[in-house]
């Protein structure tokens, strides 16, 4: 089971509390996790990545295992600790604005 931590505004939008747990097939990548997330919560489509280009929205970041994975390929395997569920994939808003 993959664990995903959403930023508070997206938790509110998706009406979830705490971590999201998802079944994701192998290999576990940013793309496969986000695909599963958007199937479970269709209202999140377009809020994390662009509808068409599938690129990460500029002010969002993907962290895991104390690493910034935002600039990794969406098809690169996520760390084993994320794939095993030991560590969450953290989606968070960049510090910007007021």
């Amino acid at each position: 089971m993959i664990r995903v931590i959403l930023p508070p505004h997206l938790r509110t939008l998706a009406q979830v509390r705490g971590d999201v747990e998802l079944e994701v097939g192998r290999p576990v990548t940013q793309r496969s996790v986000l695909d599963a997330l958007e199937v479970r919560y269709p209202m999140l489509r377009g809020t994390i990545r662009d509808h068409y280009t599938q690129q990460r929205r500029p002010f969002l970041r993907f962290f895991a295992c104390e690493e910034d994975l935002s600039h990794e390929s969406p098809d690169a395997p996520l760390p084993d600790a994320v794939a095993s569920g030991a560590e969450p994939l953290i989606i968070l808003g960049a510090i910007a604005g007021g």
Partner: protein, 371 residues
């Protein structure tokens, strides 16, 4: 007794203000969608409990919310706004070509007859329609494909389609306005469009009387006279008596003819309201006095309405979609400020009182008159 529901969009959420027909005691609900920019909230004339809201954020993009119970509960619907075909380019601020990019929905205009049909005006300027209650959106690309699109340029707030007016006497006729392209009209339900800017004069563009390029801030119409339009342009208050084919200036004795908001009295088609703002460089009322100006003659002769409004040290702005009227016997007039106040008048503007004083900056105000 009739009720009034005021729908307020702000920089940090939506608020629903309700009162009975006396309009002296109000209840405040919100913030809905706290922390998000709510550019516009509007109810369906065909089903007043069906509301639509444009929710957006620099982090998370665009969401459209829908309510079926007058704003008590909401559900997100479709947020996929795809330009039809290859979007092409418009002019950037420096005059260079810039690709069309969707940024946000500025204005939502529900159909007059069908709660499931709604129009959206977006930035970068384009006109969209949904016929399934906001789940799916299609661009009516005849507007952007009009031919003048490559000449359109953003105003300071972005290249936004901010005004949509549906003609109650002719479902095929729609008026829209874009900053800074100007006003356009379709007579075939959005297939083809013509610019309706003849008579506008804008010193800020190379050809002051060009067909397109004018920074129209807002347009208002009385439903009983759909051929008569009133416009607050960047500078100048204008009037058209032929559905936009030509315009004449009616700024008259206003202290400044810069401003954003304009609206028409619910029962007196020649009574109009504006909020003069000092200038494009100083977005606040002249002399620090917040004054609504009313003309009972369709323009040119204006009177200041000040009772109950701050007359010193007031430096707020009133944005283009932040004024509305109700349709009770004694017409109510409402406007919101960038300082977070929403003012109401239950006597056609003669006197004012704040409904709320400390909301986030107000982006839009709409009013529903309910049985």
């Amino acid at each position: 007794m009739s009720k009034v529901r005021v729908l307020v969009g702000t920089r940090k959420g939506a608020f629903v203000l309700t009162s009975d027909g006396k309009r002296d005691k109000w209840s405040v609900s919100g913030p809905h969608f706290a922390g998000w920019e709510i550019y516009h909230v509007k109810g369906s004339p065909a089903d007043p409990n069906r509301l639509y809201a444009s929710q957006s954020s620099g982090w998370f993009g665009q969401v459209i919310q829908r309510s079926n119970d007058g704003g008590l509960t909401w559900e997100p619907v479709g947020n996929k706004f795809a330009y039809d075909g290859v979007p092409g380019t418009h002019q950037w601020y420096d005059g260079t070509p810039h690709p069309w990019e969707f940024k946000r929905v500025w204005h939502l205009e529900p159909s007059l007859t069908d709660p499931e049909t709604i129009y959206a005006g977006v930035e970068d300027a384009a006109f969209f329609r949904s016929t399934d209650g906001g789940k799916n959106w299609e661009e009516l690309s005849g507007l952007r494909g009009h031919g003048s699109g490559p000449k359109w340029q953003p105003g300071a707030g972005g290249m936004c389609l901010h005004t949509i007016i549906l003609d109650p006497s002719d479902p095929r006729r729609i008026f829209i306005a874009i900053s800074a392209a100007g006003a356009f009209r379709t007579d075939d339900a959005g297939k083809t469009w013509k610019p309706i800017n003849q008579g506008l004069r804008s010193a800020q563009i190379p050809d002051p009387t060009a067909e397109v390029g004018h920074c129209v801030h807002h347009i208002a119409m009385h439903p009983s006279r759909p051929g008569v339009l009133f416009m607050q342009k960047h500078w100048d208050v204008m009037r058209s008596d032929n559905a936009g084919d030509s315009w004449t200036e009616v700024s008259g004795n206003l202290p400044t003819d810069f401003g954003f908001a304009i609206d028409v009295h619910a029962h007196e088609p020649e009574t109009i309201y504006v909020v003069p703002i000092k200038s494009d460089g100083e977005h606040f009322p002249p002399e620090g006095k917040l004054r609504v100006y009313r003309s009972r003659s369709g323009g040119n002769e204006w009177e200041a309405l000040t009772k109950g409004l701050p007359q010193q040290d007031c430096y707020v702005n009133v944005l283009r979609d932040a004024m509305a009227v109700d349709s009770l016997d004694k017409c109510g007039v409402y406007f919101g400020t960038t300082g977070g106040q929403v003012y109401a008048s239950a006597d056609s503007g003669d006197s004012w009182a704040p409904i709320v004083r400390d909301l986030p900056a107000v982006l839009s105000v709409e009013v529903q008159t309910l049985p």
